[in-house]
Amino acid sequence: MKTRLRRTMMFLNAQRASLVKDAYIYKPDSIIFDLEDAVAENQKDSARIALYNALKSINYKGIELVVRINGLDTPHAKEDIRAAIAGGIHAVRVPKTETPGDIYAAEKEIEKAEREFGIEIGRTMIMGAIESPLGVINAFDIAKSSKRMMGISIGAGDYTRTMQTTRSIEGIELQGARSQLVIAARAAGIMCFDTVYTDIENTEGFINEVKLIKQLGFDGKSIISPKQIPIVHSVFAPSQSEIRRAEKTIRALKEHSQGGVGVFTVDGQMIDIAMLEGANRTIALAKASGVYEGDL
């Protein structure tokens, strides 16, 4: 499903049996099985076979299942795609996406695998991981390149390396890329996800970063530790005051529109029809987060 809650996308090494077997207990919105950077070169085959068997055997309780394949310029990508599609993966994350051509190439192999294994053509979604300046420049074209595209994400490790800088707590070096990616994703009508936060012990820094990316408009964040899941879910859940404001907005718009009034004030704030979509989104997010107690 292209549109669903994806606040947390938890990476785990597909080769590690202890991680794969019960990742669902942490309740991320998505699990990303990593066949790429987390897996040693001489274990790519093992990780792929482990992924296939996990997909066929383990009940992940409705959590979305994504695979990060190896780059299409490696000897592993095609077999990664075959194994993942045969196993029933929901989405394929294409690393180091720089042009729409990278998505086209992945899509070609995905469709071939869907045909081979009797999977409904078009069922498997794609997300593009953007990890370089060229990818950032091409973000909108990448986001629009396929009907399968459900999102784009920023990969800060490779991005900062190619930008000849390093990551900082403040994240100023990611400012341009984050803004461009969110704009591109919104213009293309797909979702946008922020990069991982690697300092697992720095809870305060993590909370600050999650608040920042939420305010920028990101839909969620890649995470690398189950400890990070409740923090992200909490930051992304609408507050009760946001929910009440959304409820008032929705009810007031309905009431005033029946009277032929298009703009008015509620609690001193100007309200018009442009606010309705945001208010509906707040209520939907509140319901999905399990914090909505109203009757809309």
Binding site: A17, I49, Y52, N53
Partner: protein, 98 residues
């Protein structure tokens, strides 16, 4: 399937299993050690044998060192060891024999 060399797959980490496979001519020789041998020894044997049968392996010496792996992990590691021993790296029969 014909095995051309020895191979290992898996690890000795908790929840994993290490499978060592060597070609032979005496049918299937299976050696199992497990941290849960009493409770799951037979089940481990059944999973290994069934996986080998599906892959068409009739002659091999297999050593299994289990650290509490799920059946799907045991199956995955046996499959990986077999394909490595047969030198098969692509076009695996996903969905058929796996």
């Amino acid at each position: 399937m014909i095995l051309t060399k020895s191979a290992i797959a898996g690890t000795l980490e908790s929840s994993d299993v290490q499978i060592t496979i060597e070609p032979n001519h005496n049918g299937i020789e299976l050696f199992i050690s497990s941290i849960v041998m009493g409770q799951y020894g037979k089940q481990i044997k059944d999973v290994v044998i069934k996986t080998l049968e599906k892959l068409g392996v009739e002659n091999a010496k297999i050593t299994v060192v289990d650290k509490g792996a799920l059946d799907c992990t045991i199956k995955a590691r046996v499959e990986c060891a077999v394909f490595r021993a047969a030198d098969i790296t692509e076009n695996l029969p996903w969905g058929e024999k796996l």
